[in-house]
Amino acid sequence: MAIINLKKKEVQAKIVYYGPGRGGKTTNLEYIYKKFRTRIQTEMVTIKTHGDRTLFFDFLPIEIGKIKGYDIRIQLYTVPGQVKYESTRRLVLRGVDGIVFVADSLAVRRKENVLSLKSLADNLASYKKSILKIPLVFQYNKRDLLEEGIPLLPVEWLEKDLNAKLKAPSFEASALKGPNVVQTMKKIIIMTIDSLRKDLT
């Protein structure tokens, strides 16, 4: 749930990057942070410790600045992708306002994408939110690997597997190299702020 303080004219929205493990969620945030840190002037927080079993998420706050008198702040989060971290994923989703689903384009990860999307729908439902209604953007990541001859899922398959019912905006991207990382983020921010706007007017 976004924090909207009408008195102080502040809006804080939470966007979560969700998807299967090793799909590139953290790489998305790292790309944004490395490339624009002099402009966004905030710190990225990463929590990943304690051997191979722990809470793990990344957090990147972004100050958009004043718009129509409102100070707009966006908080970007990632969830841990590995299956065993289900409770942490659910916890990070609490109060979410917008979702980027980072799908792994590798052919061998087809099943993991579908399972992860299902877990997203279930976890949102536990907070009485519908995946059909929440602002959602798909990112089909790792498209750059096609040049290296690595078998990838065709975008049509990804769309059919994941986005056939949801009909959300989608981007082919490479979180490692940068194409469409920023476009994905801009899209979800605009959609999220759009969805919150009714509370501001």
Partner: protein, 234 residues
């Protein structure tokens, strides 16, 4: 009608602000590109290892390490980094999915440090050595974790025992020799991890939260110590 116009105006202001903040012409933070650098292929192979550990990817990694060793045959610091990578690479190759999960993390960490040392122009030797020592420390810790895991699993006959990462040919002399307390600490951590796995979710979460608090406290202690050292050196 007026409300629609107001909404469009709001949206276009958000878009303008985002365009301004995230113009793609921002300069890269990388000190030097890898376009034609000898590390370029090594990085590419490491990225593939990150998602697939097979004999073929691991052989490519080990071959690429040899190639880079040839290029840097006169640079002892970089050679030691490469030896660390080779040792962990051989261990991962021998154990594949059974390799300790820390191994891939350490391999990536060693590579990142190597890249920084190799690509940052004018980096003082002392700083390079410090980065190397940090990585050697991580490597040693990994070795201990591997040994500990083997002990706990009570692996049978020596012939079937999964090999621990072999020591690199040369290790810097400054590396501390006393390892017993670290081993005890690792054992303790391992017991904690086993206990953590058996907890119900709400307890596991509370436990993890405590762990994070401890970690943050430790980080602050380390930071304070570093600041103190820095002040004293001024």
């Amino acid at each position: 009608m007026a409300q629609e116009r107001e909404e469009d105006n709001f949206r276009s202001q958000v878009e303008d602000r985002l365009d301004h903040l995230f113009k793609e012409d921002a300069p890269e933070e990388e000190p030097v590109g890898l376009v034609e650098h000898p590390l370029k292929n090594l990085k590419a192979v490491l990225l593939s290892v990150d998602w697939e550990i097979t004999d073929s990817t691991m052989d490519s990694l080990l071959n690429e390490i040899k190639n880079v060793e040839y290029v840097y045959s006169e640079d002892k610091i970089i050679l030691t980094f490469l030896q660390l990578l080779g040792s962990i690479g051989r261990y991962v190759k021998a154990n594949k999915s059974k390799a300790h999960p820390e191994a891939t993390r350490v391999i990536n960490s060693v590579y990142e440090a190597l890249e920084k040392v190799a690509l940052t122009r004018g980096m003082p030797r002392a700083e390079k050595e410090k980065m190397l020592l940090d990585e050697v420390g991580k490597f040693k810790k990994l070795k201990e974790q591997v040994v500990l895991r083997k002990t706990e699993r009570k692996e049978p006959p020596a012939a079937e025992v999964t090999p621990a990462p072999p020591a690199p040919a040369r290790e810097p002399k400054e590396v501390p020799a006393a390892e017993t307390p670290a081993r005890e600490e690792e054992r303790e951590k391992s017991f904690e991890a086993a206990r953590f796995a058996q907890m119900p979710p709400h307890e596991a979460f509370a436990y993890a939260l405590e762990e994070i608090k401890d970690m943050i406290r430790a980080e602050f202690r380390a930071l304070r110590a570093e600041i103190k050292l820095w002040r004293e050196s001024k």
